[in-house]
Amino acid sequence: MEGTVLRIERISPDDGNGLRTVIFLKGCPLRCAWCSTPESHESEPEWYYMQSKCRYCGYCVKACGQNALSVSEDGSAIIRNKEKCINCFRCADACITKAIDVFGKKMTVDEVMKEINKDRLFYFCSNGGITLSGGDVLLQADFAGELLKECRENVINTSAELDMFGDYEKVKKIIPFLNSYFVDLKHMDPEEHIIWTGLSNRTILANIIRAGEEYPNTPMNARVPLIPGVNDSKKNITATAEFCRKVKSCRSLEFLPYHRLGTAKYKYLGIGYQFEHVKPLSEEETEERIRCLNGMDLPFPVKISGKVIQK
């Protein structure tokens, strides 16, 4: 079976227990305004251009069979006509400096397993394993399920970062093969959720609750990307914690302060980024924001970027 993999990050210390291989799947139904991986949005492999690496040699223009590429008038950039481009990526093959390249590639389960198995000693030595991430994992539920099953047969610990948007049948294809998982809670208010991500949170929240009922022994860890001015209000933070209390399998609630490390990728893709001006919260500010959870007597620990703040 084939899936579209954005990239594979090795020995990540921050995505679950131990050192983990994180497999980023490509394609996402959400469009979170602060997204740090915009290159994961589209489901198919995606053309991009890093102007700083470009030598304007024109090899890509010559390689293109569709006349979709041209050098800009001032000679300082390669312009792609998206209408004409058929995503054959011959230009990327022709580019010597990898100024033009492709985000994501089609891989079979076996091919991904081969990469995963390179890291098996890291899993053994750290109690680590793999974490599926996105994009959105559910969008490729069949592929993800096959991959996770294969990992479990190889006795590799599995985790996933799930958006939980989509048909619950897809959730059922994945969670049975997970040792644990993360869910992203972006906003508790359905209207706000639509404004910031393009979609309502109703399905997401319902799926989370139901998964908690049906798989109570598969630990779920809730994560909140804390975005100034979006979801850092006292109201939203307490509502998030109250929601988590209702999920039987919830084992922790973690806040991840917004960062701007993905900004450059918006440029490579030639799309705008509306959060460029937003200043990340400092450690103190983050702690101050979630102070409202004090005294709520939550049945799970509260963390900021891996560090336990409560319990």
């Binding site: 210390p13 400096t97 000693l121 030595c125 750290s126 680590g128 891996g306």
Partner: protein
């Protein structure tokens, strides 16, 4: 730790070293020369023994303020002593540049130059090892040496080094015990039996050396007593009296206390260094052989934990007292006045069980507190036996960014020494030697790093019909015009032919060196090698129980792999280039060939855990090892190692552009590390690739430099993550790693304002030096080493 009272003393001791500029010290050379003149007519062994004894009885015995552990090979702090029996010629040739050279300059006073010219040179002219070498070097070796293919002078311009004597024997038995061993053998000899005269003569030399050690202790004892009588400060007076008592006892007699054990070991250390000035005399597993004394003192209440730590810290500063004094070429290949006195902790005991004890932690603590460039602290981490608490302390020291410790997998080290022919039981005792080599204390005869060969030039010669671009001479094999290589296999054959040609010339030189070293005896070190007394045969003549052939070090591993890969990929597989185009671009150092340069640089590179490149590395280095092992000298088979010290920079200056996309005259890759800036997939991909080098077969040692991913250097969970990373590295069969965590800004600032960074320690390659004392090129190389952050 700053609040510990003893740190004031340590700081003062340290400051004195830091404030002292290295200076040439002629005292040893002058006494040695007089000793030889007086004993002319005796055999070489007795002459050497007598001259050493004379050094011990006449040299200055200075005790500096605040010292608790005393002793100095020469007369000066940070002195460079000279062993003219090995070589005086280079000093003579470089007389006016020693104080100005870029790598490791020394002050050289006019009066010292005069003594050197008047006393030392006239006697040694025509007698030193270096002169004999220059006369006897085989022609094929000479051409390779002159064209930068081989660095092969190391053993011919200085003493043997690269050994670990059995310090424990001196500490435990004392000089008396060693003399008793000599007497046992003497009893069995009869001068009328053929061969026994030579043995009796050699044992006479050993007796001179043993007594020299005794006299050295006695003289420090007397000096301490004299100073105590004049000392006004009651505390210092008491310390001096204690020093006098300790040195009155050791090394003559067995040590009874921790202090005596350290002092006994250290006097033997300076004596070995006096005998032949050389790098890499390794005190080894101090936590094992000093532990009984520490334990007894603590249990008896004679010593507090802090007092033990203070003694160890004082010893640590002492290790920085000497500076290696070597010719400018050798200094380029191992810059930073490196003494390579390797001490280690951790590992297993004689039964293969966990050997970590309180002293293991105290050794790590000493390096945390003292932060000097010596001793080279190594850790032998045994994945199966050693506790996590120990690994945690190791990681905490790594994260401090001093470049220490050098981390070694104990099991990989055992495999290496076993591959050299050491049985399992003795393999447990191996210790890191010099840079990252390995040895067994008091048991192995082995030049672990006899010579280096240049793999970058093997690639160049295959592209250029054996001709050196720099010198225009045909130093390599005539493998023909590369345009005639119709298949990749033909190209590969040419590269392999060039490698064999280099190694043949190296092995030829080794035969001469081994023969010359038989006249270059080292009876002081031989006192504690199993077999030397029993056989009455010197270390240099194969006395030790395990006599092992010499080590042959590859430099430019990644350059070789990446160049072959680029040719395969671009010329033969994808056919995007012709050999003619590639050859022209390389001839021009890629000037005017930007496209070809970009293609070469973007070909697959070693260090990214790519299967094709990994397999190439495995195949090449098994091929090379197979070939090296076809050579033997009289001590055993030659074998490989991959440890550049800092030789990748000067070797790079001999090599033109390469198919890997490396420009002409730039540094080659160091050790088994990737080429600078070509590893883009993070630390796990690097070690994935590195694990494909056959480490066990490169049994002289393999060296890996990694800049530490910030995620593993600080922050939540970083200690655990780095511990897991190191365990994985051991599980993958990798032998060694060292981390650099200093950031680039700091290094650049140190180049501009060296005065602000006098104590900035940097791991160069297998050793640590003060950054500001390194040459500009070496500094630049360190700065440009890639920072390992996964994209």
């Amino acid at each position: 730790m700053a609040d510990k009272a003893y740190m004031k003393r340590v700081s003062r001791l340290k400051k004195r070293v830091l404030d002292t500029t290295p200076e040439v010290d002629m005292e040893d050379a002058v006494i040695l020369t007089k000793g030889y003149i007086e004993s002319d007519g005796e055999t070489p062994a007795v002459q050497k023994g007598y001259a050493f004894w004379k050094q011990c009885t006449e040299k200055s015995v200075t005790i500096w303020p605040d010292e608790l552990i005393v002793g100095c090979s020469g007369s000066k702090q940070r002195g460079g002593i000279c062993s003219p029996d090995n070589s005086w010629l280079w000093v003579y040739n470089e007389l006016d540049t020693i104080d100005k050279r870029p790598s490791d300059p020394f002050i050289f006073k006019d009066e010292d130059k005069k003594i050197f010219n008047d006393v030392v040179v006239p006697y040694w002219k025509g007698r030193s090892m270096q002169e004999k070498w220059l006369k006897q070097i085989p022609e094929e070796t000479k051409i390779l040496k002159e064209c930068g293919v081989l660095y092969i002078d190391r053993k011919n311009v200085r003493g043997p080094g690269e050994l670990t004597a059995d310090y424990e024997r001196v500490v435990k038995e004392g000089v008396e015990g060693i003399e008793a061993r000599i007497a046992e053998v003497e009893k069995t000899l009869d001068v009328t039996v053929p061969g026994d005269f030579e043995k009796m003569d050699y044992l006479r030399a050993l007796r001179y050396c043993a007594d020299g050690l005794r006299q050295l202790g006695k003289r420090y004892s007397a000096e301490a007593k004299r100073m105590a009588e004049e000392e006004q400060d009651p505390q210092r007076k008491a310390e001096l009296l204690k020093i006098s008592e300790v040195c009155g006892r050791v090394p003559e007699k067995p040590a009874r206390t921790f202090w005596e054990a350290i002092q006994s070991m250290y006097i033997y250390q300076i004596a070995i260094f006096m005998e032949h000035q050389s790098a890499s005399y390794n005190p080894g597993a101090l936590d094992q052989y000093l532990y009984p004394y520490y334990k007894a003192d603590i249990e008896a209440g004679r010593l507090t934990e802090d007092e033990a730590q203070e003694l160890l810290d004082c010893l640590w500063v002492k290790f920085s007292n000497q500076c290696i004094f070597q010719d400018q070429d050798t200094a380029k290949f191992s810059a930073g006045y490196p003494m390579f006195q390797n001490v280690c902790c951790g590992g297993v005991d004689q039964n293969g069980k966990d050997a970590v004890n309180d002293l293991s932690y105290k050794m790590l603590q000493a390096t945390m507190e003292v932060q000097m460039y010596q001793p080279s602290l190594s850790v032998k981490y045994n994945l199966i036996q050693n506790p996590d608490k120990f690994l945690k302390k190791v990681v905490e020291l790594m994260q401090m960014g001093t470049g220490f410790p050098a981390f070694h997998s104990d099991i990989a080290g055992q495999m290496m020494v076993m591959n050299k022919g050491v049985p399992l039981k003795d393999s447990y005792k191996w210790n890191p030697c010099g840079c990252v080599e390995n040895t067994i204390p008091g048991k192995t005869r082995n030049y672990t790093s006899y010579a280096d060969y240049n793999l970058g030039l093997a690639v160049e010669f295959a592209m250029n019909d054996g001709k050196s671009r720099k010198y225009g001479r045909y130093a390599g094999a005539r493998t023909g015009d590369p345009r005639n290589f119709k298949t990749f296999d033909q190209y590969m054959d040419a590269v392999k032919t060039q490698i064999r040609h280099e190694l043949h010339g190296l092995a030829a030189g080794d035969q001469v060196t081994v023969h010359l070293q038989e006249e270059q005896l080292c009876p002081v070190a031989s006192l504690t090698f199993d077999g030397c007394i029993e056989k009455a045969l010197d270390y240099s003549c194969g006395g030790p129980v395990y006599s092992i052939g010499d080590g042959v070090d590859a430099i430019g591993v990644a350059d070789l792999i990446n160049s072959i890969q680029a040719v395969k990929e671009l010329v033969y597989d994808k056919k995007v280039l012709t050999m003619d185009e590639l050859a022209k671009a390389i001839d021009a150092d890629f000037r005017g060939y930007d496209d070809i340069l970009a293609l070469c640089q973007n070909a697959k590179k070693y260090g990214n855990d790519d299967e094709e490149v990994n397999d190439l590395a495995t195949d090449m280095f098994n091929y090379i090892e197979d070939y090296i092992e076809t050579f033997s000298n009289r001590f055993g088979k030659l074998s490989g190692g991959i440890l550049p010290v800092s030789g990748n920079t000067p070797f790079g200056m001999e090599v033109g552009a390469l198919p890997s996309g490396r420009r002409a005259w730039m540094p080659l890759a160091d050790g088994v590390s990737p080429n600078v800036g070509t590893d883009t997939n993070g630390m796990s991909a690097v070690i994935g690739s590195v694990s494909h080098i056959p480490h066990g077969r490169n049994d002289q040692g393999t060296l890996l430099n990694l800049k530490l991913d910030p995620a593993f250097a600080r922050g939540e969970g970083a200690v655990e993550s780095l511990m897991a990373f190191l365990k994985s590295l051991c599980a993958m069969g990798i032998y060694h790693v060292q981390f650099n965590v200093v950031d680039e800004e700091e290094l650049k600032d140190a180049q501009i304002h060296p005065e602000d960074h006098k104590d900035l320690l940097i791991r160069v390659a297998g050793y640590t030096a003060f950054f500001v004392e390194l040459s500009r090129e070496t500094q630049n190389d360190i700065i440009s080493r890639t920072t390992q952050v996964a994209i």
